[in-house]
């Protein structure tokens, strides 16, 4: 396999040999051990302080270690909120001492505020590295009727744009780059081709632990061709048994439910089951839509009416079973995920003039996987393998034509026309995927470590149309193989002030495409191959107590996807010569945290630059034909800033905002000068901000507690088309948006039960998104949460 060039192997061997040498001749000792509670359960995030100076945090299995210790006597103290502290003394010579702590519970110190600050400890750990990362903690949104897309859009630099209500298609932008330039991971596994029922807008916030958003520069462990960034969703929490669930109901026939249960026995066997159910009629009011005559198509009148064909439903089940805390594995389990959805379409994604009344689609995903994780003293190993089938069905079999008055008209009973396509369609695309991931870290010593990552991804796509015999899209199956390998070297300075990382990523792509060429009917076989090497580095420096300066860089690639290379077998022809998109991504940032008594302040600012080339875009070939080509060069630049200010236990404020300029940098298009060279790429917001006010009006120590959340979002108006072209008074503008949400939540018996009432878009302001398509107005939701076996 030619995954890495010779030089990488040499570098790698060199590093390994250093490791070996350092390891053999070091004249130091070490202390390691485990922190557990009285039941023997590991305690994560416990802090171990050595000689009242340096400290470490225990991992998810309660383990900690101190390396490179000179001979002598050490005083250790284990602390964990909710438990009494414990001190021990230990003598160290040239050996490894094992010291275990069993902490006794002490409920008097435990309240929600402190638990939250603990989670922040983990966040701080990641934030100390040079990566530009934002962490979205699910817990603080649990009382609100939100999906993951609703929550992630509150992050600076992130835009989520939806074409309607629940289940509508969405586009997520990270620092101006969007679509398949952003990669998603579920517990570290790439989510590519997982189907429309497992996307971010399906997941309720209650099923996950957190989301990590990497902007521009992505660590090697998240193995994929992420050009603009990656989002990792974490769901796994194997600390204890639990059962929790949520039900929310509200306007537009919206219902969301989730259930999440886990049982762990003393022997380390565990089983987890979780699931969600979503439904919405999405029948919100549309203001000023045009009604056209059904037969002749002439304009009749402008009305305000409710959407009538836009319902969405999705459900998911996930089950895991395995063992933890064994000699051969820290964690080993099998998992199954099954999900389905059904979506109706009220209108095309780009306008509300044409109206549909029957067109819909269905999705079904089945995934089986095996997961393994083990930490040795110096080596961490994690691997998984996944096999799945993802089906998508597009159903356009109606002979009726609709308008906004919900009137319908029969074209003619024998018309071959569907609502959307020229011929009725019942098209099923089946993807079979096999994917495996191995990541490993080797901790050379306390200051240096190497991380390796390998991802393999195989896709077989087949299409079948039950109705349209002309539709031969993917009739012969097509294969795509993607292999990814990455290696990074992480370094921490002696005084822990400086952290640096360098990495190299290698992408190998090959495909076998057999396609019946539409234009001449010939069967063409082609095997495109692409090899690319990306690289980058990160650096963070602690300039003062709790002040970090950070920078990161990556030469990033995105390989063309199957659809772009294969075309659709109809009017989008294949292009085996398609090249990867590439981008030079740069971040400069500063992070400051401080505390004074009860007050906590965190401020962060980041400057981002993205020099992107060869963006793949659909271009005309001639007649009805088009083809994906490498056309666009784009430059994004901007700043984002956030401020989290906790004034006292009763009141906190989160603010963030982003200003960005996304500039077209393609000099010529179709051998002609590009009239928009250096113009701003339109239809993307350039100034937006979020705020969140959290109020706990009463004493935080009480068992029952009231919380008030007030969320606001501002997006400045922007042009749908090219800026500077056309008379401004005639230009399509997506107006300024300012949307406010409020939630009142009451938690009973220390969060065992939680009842909340939300009003979204309180002032019923007009909200628009992509292509000026109206979004829901004021809506109300009730949400109930229970949390037992906690």
């Amino acid at each position: 396999m030619s995954l890495f060039r010779k030089s990488y192997i040499i570098i790698f061997l060199f590093i390994l040999s250093n490791v070996y040498i350092t390891d053999c001749f070091s004249q130091s000792g070490s202390i390691s051990g485990r922190v557990s509670d009285q039941k023997g359960e590991p305690i994560e995030y416990a802090s171990i302080v050595i000689n009242k100076s340096k400290g470490v945090i225990t991992d998810s299995l309660g383990y900690f270690s101190f390396n490179d210790l000179e001979k002598g006597t050490y005083y250790l103290e284990a602390k964990h909120l909710g438990h009494k502290s414990l001190q021990k003394t230990v003598d160290v010579s040239n050996d490894t001492k094992t010291i275990n702590f069993v902490l006794v519970e002490d409920l008097s110190t435990l309240d929600e505020v402190i638990v939250r600050s603990l989670v922040e400890t983990e966040e701080r750990k990641v934030k100390k590295t040079g990566y530009k990362i934002d962490i979205v903690k699910a817990d603080i949104y649990k009382a609100q009727p939100f999906s993951l897309t609703d929550v992630i859009r509150k992050t600076p630099g992130i835009l989520v744009r939806e074409s309607g209500g629940m289940g509508s298609s969405f586009e997520l932008y990270v620092n101006g780059l969007s679509g398949n330039k952003i990669r998603y991971f579920l517990d570290g596994i790439p989510m590519e081709n997982f189907g429309s029922s497992l996307t971010l807008n399906n997941f309720p916030i209650n099923l996950i632990k957190k989301m990590e958003v990497y902007k521009g520069v992505v660590p090697v462990e998240l193995g994929s061709d992420a050009l603009g960034g990656a989002i990792n969703i974490s769901t796994i929490d194997l600390k204890k048994s639990f059962l929790n669930g949520s039900v929310s109901m509200g306007s537009f026939g919206t219902k969301r439910a989730s259930l999440n249960g886990q049982y762990i026995n003393k022997k380390g066997l565990f089983a987890t089951a979780s699931g969600f159910y979503n439904h919405s009629d999405n029948n919100y009011r549309m203001d000023d839509v045009n009604v056209y005559e059904l037969d002749l198509g002439n304009f009749e009148e402008t009305i305000s009416t409710r959407r009538f064909h836009d319902s969405y439903r999705s459900y998911m089940f996930n089950g895991k079973a395995g063992v933890k805390g064994k000699k051969y594995a820290d964690v080993l389990y099998v998992a199954y995920t099954g999900s389905k959805n059904k979506k109706e379409y009220q209108h095309p994604e780009t306008n509300v003039e044409t109206v549909y009344g029957d067109f819909h689609s269905k999705g079904e995903t089945n995934l089986f996987s095996l997961h393994y994780k083990k930490k040795w003293r110096k080596l961490d190993l994690k691997g998984n393998i996944l096999k799945g089938r993802v089906k998508r069905t597009i159903i356009d079999t109606s002979s009726l034509r609709y308008n906004w008055a919900a009137e319908s008209f029969l074209r003619s009973s024998d018309s071959p026309e569907g609502e959307v396509y020229n011929r009725k369609r019942f098209f099923i695309i089946t993807d079979d995927i096999i994917r495996s991931t191995v990541t490993s870290s080797y901790h050379i010593n306390k200051k240096n470590s190497i991380n390796l990552s390998f991802v393999q991804n195989h896709l077989k796509r087949k299409g079948k149309d039950r109705v349209d015999e002309f539709n031969n899209t993917f009739q012969t199956p097509n294969y795509v193989n993607k292999i990814y390998g990455g290696v990074s070297y992480d370094h921490k300075s002696q005084n822990d002030k400086l952290r640096a990382s360098v990495f190299v990523k290698r992408f190998v792509y090959n495909a076998k495409i057999e396609i019946q060429e539409q234009q001449n009917g010939r069967l063409t076989s082609t095997e495109p191959k692409i090899n690319k090497t990306g690289y980058g580095g990160t650096l963070s420096y602690k300039v003062a107590k709790s002040t970090f300066l950070k920078t990161s860089f990556e030469k990033a690639y995105r390989l063309p996807n199957d659809y772009e290379i294969l075309g659709d077998g109809a009017f989008i022809t294949y292009n085996p010569d398609l090249e990867s998109e590439n981008s030079n991504n740069i971040n400069f940032g500063a992070l400051y945290t401080t505390r004074f008594k009860d007050m906590r302040l965190k401020a962060e600012a980041n400057l981002f630059l993205r020099f992107s080339e060869n963006f793949i875009q659909l271009g005309a070939v001639g007649g009805p034909y088009s083809r994906y080509n490498n056309i666009n060069n784009v430059r994004s630049q901007g700043v984002e800033a956030s401020l989290n200010f906790k004034i006292n236990p009763h009141f906190s404020v989160d603010l963030n905002g982003t200003y960005q300029r996304i500039i077209e940098r393609t000099k010529t298009v179709n051998d002609l000068p590009n009239e928009n060279y250096n113009n701003e790429v339109p239809n993307i917001p350039y100034l937006f901000a979020n705020s969140r006010l959290t109020v706990h009006p009463f004493d935080a120590q009480k068992k029952n507690k009231l919380s008030i959340y007030f969320d606001s979002r501002y997006v400045k108006d922007f042009f749908l088309s090219w800026k500077g072209l056309g008379d401004v008074s005639t230009k399509n503008v997506i107006p300024k948006q300012f949307v406010n949400d409020i939630t009142l939540a009451y938690s009973i018996k220390k969060d065992t039960y939680n009842v909340s009432l939300s009003c979204l878009n309180i002032f019923d302001t007009e909200a628009y998104d992509n292509f000026r398509i109206q979004k829901p107005g004021r809506s109300f939701f009730v949400k109930l949460i229970f949390n037992v076996l906690n």
Binding site: D295, N351, R423, Q519, G622, G638, G657, P673, S721, D727
Partner: protein, 440 residues
């Protein structure tokens, strides 16, 4: 809502101050200033008539059309034609432009997301959009204006839709409303799986002429019977579901090319002339035609091809005819693909610069090539040709430059005019001041 707006202003101020620094930082390193905004038609101008056109951008994401105008011919002959700070932004995508006499420009969307027709009129020297559009299902590709200029016929041709019928829309040019729709196959052969792909529309007296190519029904866009000219003849205005008759001629190949509005010519004496191309680069697939490219004639009052007339362009110009637009006095402006063997399928539209212009005399059957124009592509007069005072104004898409040229019909000389900041000029026309009814 007062509370809301107050609150929003507060937040806005906050957000502004947060980003002020950043804004200064970024704009200072960018260097390009905002374009001047707003169009300023001269209020003192006596001649309120304007030259109006659709400017179609080259940049395609998103592809966009702007309706711009200039005061007079000088505006076409100097400087640049651009939409910078002026022009009416049209719904997105490519749009056919159909001039109706000197009164209005009908604009038909060709992108699947904006299949609507809107109209532009001249309101006191200012071009404005007239009223609400009408919608249609599938793209229109063929248009013609009735002899009284009151009706526009637009033909909807479903693609890849088997034997789904074509539909002719009668559009009231003034009200921009559809008055009736006629379904017709034009021609088909269900056994062989063949359908007609109409390539033009022409009204003359009581007849509607519809030339067509023979395509596969699956919509692979294969021209399966290229070596014959086919034309359906309908009665007009009472168009029936089936044509009165179909006429054929095997001296040349299929009449018409994709997307062109310059396939049929009607002279002052009501003779009709037709264009036959047959080149691979013009969409003849899988094989180009073997019959020569040229011009056929249907004499005034007749509904058959003139057996005594065939203007063999291929022989006389050593190339294939790709566009044909009428100049008056039996003369026409012809686009000729100079080396038809060069280039892939559809290359004449998009990739190869190998076309030139010539003035052809339809009666004398002479070809005189116009000098002084670089080789170009896309010369199919997608939405007609603007001719005024003995001069024609084609848009020439040459390598690295799109420009308007002025062709002197009498002398056959070309003068380069304004450069175009875009990919094409569609529907260039003279638009006189409209009646009140036309106004918004």
């Amino acid at each position: 809502m007062k509370i809301n707006s107050k609150f929003s202003d507060k937040i806005k101020t906050k957000a502004l101050s947060v980003f002020l620094m950043a804004g200064i930082l970024l704009s200072s390193c960018s260097g390009d200033d905002d374009a001047p905004v707003g169009s300023n038609p001269d209020p003192d101008s006596e001649n309120k008539s304007r030259l109006v056109m659709q400017l179609f951008l080259n940049q395609s994401k998103p592809s966009q059309t702007y309706v711009i105008s200039v005061d007079d011919i000088d505006g076409l002959m100097s400087g640049t034609l651009s939409a910078e700070g002026k022009g009416i932004e049209a719904p997105s995508g490519y749009r056919f432009g159909v001039p109706v006499g000197n009164s209005s420009l009908l604009s038909f969307g060709y992108t699947s997301s904006t299949l609507n027709c809107i109209s532009y009129v001249n309101d006191g020297g200012e071009v404005v959009v007239s009223d609400k559009p009408f919608l249609y299902d599938d793209v229109f590709q063929r248009f013609t204006v009735s002899e009284d200029e009151k009706t526009v016929l637009a033909m909807e041709i479903p693609q890849g839709a088997g034997f789904l019928q074509r539909e002719i829309y009668f559009v009231d040019a003034e009200d921009v409303r559809v008055t009736k729709k006629i379904k017709t196959d034009v021609w088909k052969d269900e056994v062989e799986g063949l359908v007609a792909m109409p390539t033009g529309l022409m009204i003359r007296g009581n007849h509607l002429f519809v030339p067509y190519q023979v395509h596969d029904a699956e919509g692979k866009w294969q021209t399966l019977r290229p070596n014959k000219a086919y034309m359906a003849v309908y009665s007009y205005p009472n168009i029936g579901e089936t044509p009165l008759k179909i006429i054929e001629d095997d001296r040349t190949c299929n009449i018409g090319v994709n997307a062109s509005m310059s396939t049929l010519i009607k002279t002052e004496s009501d003779d009709i002339y037709t264009l036959s191309c047959g080149a691979k680069g013009a969409g003849f697939n899988p094989d180009p035609a073997t019959k020569p490219s040229g011009i056929l004639k249907i004499k005034n009052g007749e509904t058959d091809f003139d057996a005594n007339y065939f203007f063999n362009i291929e022989e006389k110009a050593q190339g294939k005819l790709f566009g044909l637009a009428y100049l008056g006095n039996n003369k026409a402006l012809a686009t000729i693909i100079t080396n038809p063997e060069v280039g892939d399928l559809w290359s004449a539209y998009n990739t190869v610069f190998n076309q030139k212009l010539a003035i052809v005399d339809l009666v004398q059957e002479t070809v005189s090539v116009i000098d002084g124009i670089p080789l170009f592509r896309s010369g199919y007069f997608a939405t007609g040709l603007f001719v005024e005072d003995g001069k024609a104004y084609p848009t020439i898409v040459a390598e690295n430059e799109v420009a308007i040229y002025q062709i002197d019909i009498a002398t056959g000389t070309a003068t380069k005019g304004a450069t175009v900041e875009g990919r094409d000029i569609l529907g260039l026309m003279r638009m006189d001041e409209g009646t009140k009814k036309n106004k918004k």
